[in-house]
């Protein structure tokens, strides 16, 4: 997953662990800007079933910062993902 600059008008999405298994890829470029809370909806359209099977338990980061998108009073519910941002989907890994 070489971190390349996404093309203009896009952000780069990184998939880790179970998320990359489900999406069948480690990274992709997605049109920006979007409201962060809409991200799961966009991904569900691309990968039907991913919300329930993977995303619901995942951490989301934007530019290496954990973001809180869950619920009405989520701290980052108004966050906009901008062009050029690096967003990551991080499922909990429990094995060891």
């Amino acid at each position: 997953m070489a971190s390349n600059r996404p093309p203009p008008g896009h952000f780069e999405l990184l998939y880790f662990a179970a998320a990359s298994d489900f999406a069948g890829r480690n990274t992709e470029n997605i049109p920006a800007p979007i409201v962060a809370t809409d991200l799961f909806g966009v991904l569900e359209q691309r990968y039907p079933g991913i919300t329930e099977k993977v995303l619901s338990s995942c951490a989301v980061t934007v530019n290496l910062q954990y973001v809180d998108l869950e619920g009405e009073d989520a701290a980052d519910k108004d966050l906009i993902i901008q062009e050029g941002d690096e967003v990551a989907i991080i499922p909990p890994v429990s094995s060891g």
């Binding site: 997953m1 070489a2 971190s3 880790f16 662990a17 179970a18 298994d21 069948g24 480690n26 691309r46 990968y47 039907p48 079933g49 329930e52 099977k53 993977v54 619901s56 338990s57 951490a59 980061t61 290496l64 910062q65 954990y66 809180d68 869950e70 619920g71 009073d73 701290a75 990551a88 991080i90 499922p91 909990p92 890994v93 429990s94 094995s95 060891g96």
Partner: protein, 512 residues
Amino acid sequence: MSSVDAQIVALHAQIASCETQLQRLRDQLFEAESHRDISSGAATGQTPLSLVNVAPSSHPTETSEGFSHQEKGQKVAKIWPLDKHEYRRYGRQLIMSEIGLTGQLRLRSSAVLVVGVGGLGCPAAAYLAGAGVGTIGLIDGDTVEESNLHRQILHSTERVDMAKVDSAIASLKSLNPTVKYVPYHKRLTAEIALDIFDQYDVILDCTDTPASRYLISDSCVLLEKPLVSASALRTEGQLMVLNNPPLPAGNAQGGPCYRCVFPKPPPAASVVSCGDGGILGPVVGTMGVLQALETIKIITKGIQRSSEPPSLLLFSAFSNPPFRSIRLRTRKAKCSACSAQATVTREALESGSLDYVQFCGAVSPIDALAATERVSVVEYSRLYNSSDAAMNTQPSIKEHILVDVREKVQFELGNLEGSINIPYSAICRSSATASTDPLSQPPSEDGWVAQLRNLAEDRPIYVVCRLGNDSQLAVGKMKELGLDGGGTRWIGDIRDGLRAWRKRIDPDFPEY
């Protein structure tokens, strides 16, 4: 900033400064008391420590009492804070400003619990023992298996079948016999967690299930212990120092817990173990070594005094860059374990009302097919061998189709002659959308469906996998996609997969 705000900031700063000073005084007291305790046993205990004979060659700390008389009690040799062998053994870390004498004394007086003595716990415990942690507790209910040895570096070929805890302690004793090792030959459960954790200063989560991760985190919050948590699968690893500083639930200055970062457990069916998913030794080893490092940092700095902001370190061994450090948020305002609204209480945990296994979803054996859709390996072997004798070449393909749904890399390790490999991951992806939105599918993913459709449609399809779970789900998906021609073609799976094949039919089939 209002004057009240300014006052609050100033008070915080003042408290922090007092706490630092207090800790420094405690350290000085600790050292002074250890001098007094020893010298008070000597006849000439009043001799000022700074004036005593300090000739290193005649240094007495090798005697069991820790002191000696020289020149008929005229002089008492200085009692050094560390034993002679400790200066030698830990010399390379002692001379670093990050450790120093204070850090080494803290390590020696600390007790660390390693939960899980596998791919993470082995390297973590090895470095902690090497560094001179005073007491190391080890919990694990498993025995050593041959398939552990490529990564669980404290175990050895001779110790296969031995309890992991005993095997680990044998290695650790040989590495550093001066550490006290405490074995717990059991799996961690809610009934025993608090009693055990209470005796330790720092807890390392080196386990392998979601349920144990929540149990360990909750226990650490309740007992106010810092938690060093790591995990690894395939080529990736995660590391977090949680509940640090380990302040009481409800105190927003405390570090976040596991529930703050991952409030919802992953769906049980999606949880992959190292046994199923694979793991590269140095990947999990790296994470275990980092756990030891973070533990040493916490202890030598002084527990309760952490100032490092919380982070999640991601290691992805085949990516560039391989390491990413994620800044975490502080404690979640509504966290069920560490916030002021916590529902995870000591009583709830001890009474068993927090059912961790249920919370994470119990994985029941997959039983998705009717009996008529399944054959045993014995039944299948008759078919396999009879067609083999009759046809000689490409035997099983002529009469029926055998589909092996393991991933390609596993298929290549060994497969039944004539079988076709269609990985389960590809089957999963196709069936999810094939009927609703075919345009969104990359063309290659439908390739396997076309491939099967093009084979004579009256030949039955037998599906096999490693253990007999994926094969059942694959049969279901194939029927969903209409490959059974509305019931004209039989599709079913081979019960218990290639593991049963090896056990009952062909002992030479590779076991992995």
